[in-house]
Symmetry: C2
Subunit: 113 residues, 2 copies
Amino acid sequence: MTSALRQFKADIFQGLAHPTRIAIVETLREGELPAGKLVERLELEQANASQHLAVLRAKQIVVSRKLGNQVYYSLRDPVLTKVLDLLRRYFYSQLSETANMLEEIEQESARVK
Amino acid sequence: MTSALRQFKADIFQGLAHPTRIAIVETLREGELPAGKLVERLELEQANASQHLAVLRAKQIVVSRKLGNQVYYSLRDPVLTKVLDLLRRYFYSQLSETANMLEEIEQESARVK
DNA sequence: TCAGTATATTCGCATTTTAGAATGTACTGA
DNA sequence: TCAGTACATTCTAAAATGCGAATATACTGA
């Protein structure tokens, strides 16, 4: 793999490396939304939302178009939602592993008693 | 989506948000490797590699096991390689879009002449 | 036990990221 | 033209990240 590709991937990941930006992307899965709606739904500070949107724009994760007074945002590529879906599965598999671990520890400590 | 899930996803992305860590993960796709081999193949400073490995461990992206003198690393879950594959496609689609754009600009400037 | 090897951790420093406050810009409707 | 709305940008301080140098830890074989 070329170093450019690595840098590119790292940039995408970095763009998504914040809970607020994840929330924005997840919200945009359902379709285009003006910035104001995002602020409202996610209960963000206006400036903060705008900064996170700037990051997502810079990393080419979202695109925006101006419509009158508002700026509508949408996901640039649906592939990203697939990535998020994969991670959801990963998350749950981790969760169940952790649950199993806890259970084992519990049984262990019960046995020791 | 719960905020815990968002934080989890953000953590994964953050763990992958560096070209060196991407390189490590891509290298580990082929299988388990001791830290030293990674240092060698990727031409990293030993301390630096160790720090990046610590990040990957903290985010649960890799697991390690000690074998004698060495520490072998491997990917915790193959799902992550799927994520990287998806991004590779994304990368190339972006590339070709950029190429198209450049071509259009070129044709435009040719027309203007 | 001791030198050598493999890896991890700590330290100091520079850079980046983040949040909120303040301010700027662009558009709309009266 | 002007007040109001929707966003973006800039500034500042705090926190997090990244690097290499130095140091620490753990294991091996003599």
